[in-house]
C-alpha cells in the first residue's frame, strides 16, 4: 500500500477517535475539528518528508496532544470555564433522551473535567480512547508503570467522588 493510501486509511479509522479525544480536552466542537485537521496535516507532513510511521494510532494521539497543549497556551484562561460548561451541556443534551445512564455519564464527564490535567489525559486515553497503558506511555513519552499508577489514582479519585454523591 502506498503512503497516501495508508494515510487515508488511518484517517478513516482514527479521525473519530481523535475528534472524541479533542472534544473531551477542549470542549469546543469547532476547535476540536480544527485540531483533528491539523493533526492529520502534520502527520502527512511527516510522512511526505520521508518519515516512517509504524503505528498511526499513538502517532496521531501524540500530535493531537501537542496541538491541544499549544491550544491551551494560546488560549486565554478566562473564558475556558464558561466555554466548557456551555459545550458540555449542549453535548450531553442531545444524548440525554437516548440513554438511560445519561445522568451518570454527564456526571462522569463533569468530574473528569475537574481532574488535574495529567490525570485527566490518562483517564481519557484509557477509557474514552481505549488506548492501552503501553500506548499511552508511548504517546506521552513516559514509562508504562507511571502511566498505570496515574490511571489507577485518577480512577480512585473518581470512585471516591461517586461514592460521596
Amino acid at each position: 500500500m502506498d503512503t497516501e493510501a495508508q494515510f487515508l486509511k488511518a484517517f478513516d479509522e482514527y479521525a473519530d477517535a481523535i475528534f472524541k479525544h479533542c472534544m473531551f480536552r477542549v470542549s469546543d466542537r469547532d476547535v476540536a475539528k480544527d485540531i483533528v485537521q491539523d493533526t492529520f496535516c502534520r502527520a502527512w507532513n511527516h510522512v511526505a518528508r520521508g518519515g516512517e510511521v509504524r503505528e498511526y494510532r499513538p502517532f496521531l494521539y501524540k500530535i493531537a496532544t501537542n496541538l491541544i497543549t499549544d491550544f491551551y497556551r494560546k488560549k486565554k484562561p478566562v473564558s475556558l470555564d464558561e466555554l466548557s460548561d456551555r459545550e458540555m451541556n449542549s453535548l450531553s443534551h442531545d444524548e440525554r433522551e437516548q440513554r438511560e445512564n445519561a445522568d451518570d455519564v454527564r456526571r462522569v464527564r463533569r468530574e473528569i473535567e475537574k481532574l488535574p490535567e495529567k490525570e485527566r489525559v490518562v483517564v481519557l486515553m484509557r477509557y474514552i480512547d481505549d488506548l492501552s497503558p503501553k500506548e499511552i506511555a508511548v504517546v506521552l513519552g513516559e514509562k508504562e508503570n507511571a502511566v498505570s499508577v496515574r490511571i489507577h489514582r485518577a480512577v480512585e479519585k473518581l470512585r471516591d467522588i461517586f461514592k460521596e454523591l
Partner: protein, 760 residues
C-alpha cells in the same frame, strides 16, 4: 450501580464527527496531501510550488460546483495538467490564465484554510496579490480600464470577506488575532497606495523627459495620459478608503483588549511579539539581500526605518517586563506595521523597480497616533466622540462596566439619530438605497442587542466591541444618507435628482458617440487615421460611465455626478474628432530643466544617448562622442549623457579609420570623400622641389658615365671616366659636385606618389 469503568467507557460514546464533517475534513486533507506530495530527491519547497494532477481533479470539482469557468478553460486545464495552474500564478487581468489563478488556485487555498483566522489571513494575501497585479500593470502603463475595474471589485470582495471572517474571529474572542489581521491589512493597503502613487510620479517624470526628445505630444496622447492618471488616482483613493475603514475596526479591537484580564492580555502581547519578530526577520533577510543594489539615500532610509522598528520593539519588551501588556501590545503591533511597510517597499523596489523611498523619508507609523489628522476629522461619518478610544492601560475592574455601558448608550442614541436622519430624507433617496439602509440599521440593532446581552453576562469587552461595531455601521449609513441629501445651492433640488439628470445626459451622449463612430468607419480613408483615436476615447468614455454607475449604486452621488459629467466631456471630444475639427492641440508644456537624478528606477525603457569619450583630437578629426544604450532615460541623465533617441542604439555605419600620418604629412579630403563614413581621405606631404644636376664639361680624355647612385630624373650620380689609368678616382669623385646646385640631394625622401590612402 454499574461499574465506574463501564460508565467511563460509555461517556465517550456518541461523541463523533458527523459524516459530513468527516467527509469535509477528508476532502481538505486530500487537497492538502496533493499540495504537499511525498518528497523524493527534489527539495520540498519545489514540490510546494507544483500543482499535481490530483489537485487538478479537486480544482475541477470546485469549478464544476461553482460554475466559475468557461468550458474551454476547463479543457485547457485538463490538457495542460498541473503546469497550467502553476503557470497561472504570474497572470494578470487580461491574461487567459488569470481565471485559473483567481478562481482555481486561490479558491483551493481558501478551502484549505480552515479557521476564520486562517481564512482572513489568506484573504489579506489575496488583497496583496490584487494590488501587485495593479502595480505591475500600472508600471508598464497598460492598466486597462476593464482590468482596473476587475481589480477594484476583487479587492472590495476580498476585504468584505475579511470583515466577515474578522467578525467570526471576534466572536471566538480572539480579539488580539483579529486586531493583528486588521493591522496587517491596513498597513498592506497603505504601503501599496504609496507604491501606486510613486508609480504615477515616475510615469509623470518619464513623460516629461520624453517630451523634449520624442517630439510634441499629440493632444490625444496627453488626454490618454491624463485618463490613466485619473484611474490610478481613483484606485489609490479607494485603497486609502478601505484602509481607513479597517483602521477604525482595529482601533475598536485594540481598545476592547483593554477589557481583558491580565492573563489574556499577556497572551495577546506575547502573540503580537512573535508576530513582530517574524515580520522583522522577514524584513532583515530581504534588506540584507537587497542592500547592495539600493542607492545610498534609500539604504539610509531603510536603515532608519529598521532602527525605528527595533526601538519600538525594545519599548515593547520593557513594557512586558513591567507588566504593562497594553503598551507592549501596541508597541509590538507598531513594530509589525513598520516592518510590514518596509517589506512592501523593498519588494516593490525588487520586483517593479519602483523606489518609494526616493522622494521622502518614511514617516513613522504609530498605532497610538490617530491617523494623519490626529483623529479630529470625522472618519467614515462617525462623530469624533464616538470614535474608539485607545486605552493606554488596562481598564480598571470597576470602570469596565461603566465604559461598556456608556458606549452602548452612546451607540443607542446615535442609532436613534441615524434613524431620524433616514426618516427625514427617505423620500429623496432612491428605493434601492433606502432598502440597503434599512438592512444596515437592522444589522446595527442586532449588534447592539448582542452587546446588551454581553453586558448582562458580564462580558464587558464584547459589549464594548459590539457597541463600536454598531457605531461604525451607523456611521457608514449616515455618510450614505448625507451624500444623497446634500442639496445644491438653493436647497430645492435633491442630489438624487441631479445624479439622475447627469446619468441620463451621459447615457444619451454615449449613445450619440456610438452612432457617430458607426458613421466614421464608413467614411473616407482619412477617417481611418482618426478611427483609432475615436475608438480609444469611446472606450474611455464607456469606462467612465460604468464607473459612474458603480459609484451611484455604491452610494457616492457626488462622485457619480462628476464621472457622468466627465463622460459627457469625453463624448464632446469624440464628436469634435468625428466632425473633423480635430482636437484642440494643447500646447505641450516646455520641458522643465530636469535635475540630474540621484536615484533611478530599474525599469527597462532603453534610450540611446551620446556620451563624451574624453578624447581630445588635435592633429586629425576624430569622434569626441560615442553612442551608448542606457536602461532608461533617467540612468542616461545620471551618467551625464544626452538622450539621442528612444530604444537601444542602432549599430553605427562603418567608418573609415586611418593610421597616423607619417611625419610632416596630413590627410586631406579626396575626391571620393564621404561625410558619413569619413572615407576617401588622401595623404598629403610637403614635396621637395626636384633639383637637376648639371655637370661641367668633362676634362679631356674623360667622359661621364652612370655611377652607382645615378638618378634618371635628376640626372645626378654621373661619374667621370677617363682613359688615363693614373687618374685617381677619388679626385674624380670630388668633381661630381654639380656646378649649379650645391645642396645635397636626397632622392629617397622625395615622394612622387602622394595619393596613397589606407582604407580599412
Amino acid at each position: 450501580m454499574r461499574k465506574l469503568e463501564d460508565i467511563l467507557k460509555s461517556a465517550g460514546k456518541g461523541v463523533a464527527l458527523s459524516s459530513d464533517e468527516k467527509k469535509e475534513i477528508g476532502e481538505r486533507l486530500k487537497a492538502y496531501a496533493s499540495f504537499h506530495p511525498v518528497r523524493n530527491e527534489v527539495p520540498e519547497r519545489l514540490y510546494r510550488r507544483r500543482s499535481p494532477f490530483s489537485v487538478l481533479y479537486y480544482s475541477l470539482q470546485i469549478i464544476v460546483r461553482k460554475r466559475i469557468m468557461p468550458i474551454f478553460l476547463i479543457i485547457a486545464l485538463m490538457l495542460g495538467g498541473g503546469g497550467v495552474s502553476y503557470a497561472a500564478e504570474g497572470a494578470v487581468p487580461g491574461d487567459a490564465l488569470y481565471q485559473v489563478k483567481v478562481n482555481v488556485n486561490e479558491e483551493v487555498r481558501d478551502i484549505i484554510a480552515r479557521t476564520p483566522e486562517a481564512k482572513a489571513t489568506w484573504e489579506t494575501e489575496r488583497v496583496t496579490r490584487r494590488l501587485l497585479e495593479a502595480e505591475e500593470l500600472a508600471k508598464d502603463g497598460v492598466l486597462a480600464p476593464e482590468a482596473q475595474q476587475k481589480i477594484e471589485e476583487k479587492i472590495a470582495e476580498h476585504i468584505g470577506k475579511i470583515e466577515d471572517h474578522l467578525s467570526k474571529v471576534e466572536e471566538r474572542k480572539n480579539i488580539s488575532e483579529a486586531s493583528r489581521i486588521a493591522t496587517s491589512l491596513e498597513t498592506t493597503l497603505r504601503a501599496h497606495a504609496e507604491v501606486l502613487t510613486r508609480i504615477q510620479e515616475v510615469r509623470d517624470e518619464s513623460a516629461l523627459s520624453t517630451v523634449g526628445t520624442a517630439g510634441a505630444d499629440s493632444a490625444t496622447t496627453a488626454e490618454s495620459r491624463s485618463f490613466e492618471k485619473d484611474r490610478l488616482g481613483s484606485i489609490t483613493i479607494k485603497i486609502a478608503e478601505h484602509a481607513e475603514k479597517i483602521a477604525i475596526r482595529r482601533d475598536a479591537e485594540l481598545s476592547s483588549i483593554a477589557f481583558q484580564d491580565a492573563p489574556g492580555r499577556k497572551v495577546a502581547a506575547e502573540e503580537q511579539r512573535k508576530h513582530a519578530e517574524k515580520k522583522m526577520g522577514e524584513l532583515s533577510v530581504l534588506f540584507d539581500a537587497r542592500k547592495e543594489s539600493l542607492s545610498e539615500n534609500a539604504r539610509r532610509v531603510f536603515e532608519g526605518g529598521i532602527a525605528d522598528a527595533k526601538d519600538v520593539y525594545n519599548k515593547g519588551l520593557e513594557a512586558v517586563a513591567t507588566e504593562k501588556y497594553e503598551e507592549a501590545m501596541r508597541a509590538f503591533q507598531e513594530t509589525g506595521m513598520i516592518a510590514n511597510k518596509l517589506t512592501v517597499y523593498l519588494k516593490s523596489e525588487r520586483d517593479l523597480g519602483v523606489t518609494v523611498t526616493e522622494k521622502k523619508t518614511l514617516e513613522r507609523t504609530s498605532v497610538t497616533m490617530k491617523r494623519e489628522d490626529g483623529g479630529t476629522k470625522e472618519v467614515g461619518g462617525i462623530p469624533t466622540d464616538l470614535m474608539p478610544i485607545v486605552h493606554t492601560d488596562q481598564v480598571p475592574e470597576g470602570s469596565r462596566k461603566e465604559l461598556a455601558e456608556a458606549m452602548l448608550r452612546k451607540a443607542g442614541v446615535y442609532k436613534e439619530e441615524v434613524i431620524k436622519l433616514f426618516e427625514m430624507h427617505r423620500a429623496s433617496l432612491p428605493e434601492y438605497i433606502a432598502t440597503r439602509i434599512k438592512g444596515g440599521i437592522a444589522t446595527a440593532e442586532e449588534t447592539l442587542l448582542h452587546g446588551m446581552r454581553a453586558l448582562e453576562a458580564g462580558e464587558y469587552g464584547t459589549a464594548y466591541l459590539s457597541a463600536q461595531k454598531a457605531v461604525n455601521l451607523l456611521g457608514e449609513i449616515a455618510q450614505v444618507i448625507r451624500k444623497y441629501v446634500t442639496s445644491d445651492g438653493d436647497g430645492n433640488t435633491s442630489i438624487a435628482e441631479e445624479v439622475h439628470r447627469a446619468h441620463t445626459a451621459a447615457e444619451g451622449a454615449l449613445a450619440k458617440a456610438k452612432e457617430a463612430i458607426a458613421t466614421i468607419s464608413a467614411e473616407s480613408e482619412n477617417a481611418n487615421s482618426r478611427g483609432s483615436k475615436v475608438r480609444a476615447l469611446y472606450e474611455e468614455a464607456a469606462f467612465t460611465f460604468a464607473k459612474g454607475v458603480h459609484a451611484e449604486n455604491a452610494g457616492a452621488p457626488k462622485e457619480a455626478i462628476e464621472l457622468f459629467h466627465k463622460t459627457v466631456r469625453i463624448v464632446e471630444e469624440i464628436m469634435k474628432l468625428v466632425r473633423g475639427e480635430g482636437v484642440v492641440v494643447v500646447p505641450s508644456p516646455k520641458p522643465l530643466p530636469v535635475p540630474e537624478p540621484i536615484v533611478c528606477t530599474k525599469e527597462y525603457a532603453p534610450v540611446c544617448a551620446s556620451v563624451n569619450t574624453g578624447i581630445v583630437c588635435i592633429k586629425a578629426p576624430c569622434p569626441t562622442t560615442t553612442e551608448k544604450t542606457f536602461g532608461n532615460a533617467c540612468e542616461a541623465r545620471a551618467a551625464g549623457a544626452t538622450v539621442v533617441y528612444k530604444g537601444e542604439c542602432r549599430p553605427s555605419v562603418a567608418q573609415c579609420d586611418y593610421a597616423a600620418p607619417p611625419q610632416g604629412c596630413e590627410y586631406v579630403k579626396g575626391s571620393a570623400y564621404n561625410e558619413t563614413t569619413r572615407c576617401g581621405l588622401v595623404l598629403k606631404c610637403p614635396t621637395t622641389p626636384t633639383v637637376k644636376c648639371e655637370y661641367a664639361a668633362p676634362i679631356a680624355g674623360c667622359e661621364y658615365i652612370h655611377g652607382p647612385s645615378y638618378n634618371e630624373v635628376t640626372g645626378c650620380g654621373l661619374v667621370l671616366k677617363c682613359a688615363t689609368e693614373s687618374l685617381n678616382t677619388s679626385t674624380l669623385r670630388a668633381q661630381e659636385v654639380p656646378a649649379t646646385n650645391t645642396t645635397e640631394v636626397k632622392t629617397e625622401e622625395t615622394k612622387t606618389d602622394t595619393t596613397r590612402a589606407y582604407t580599412y
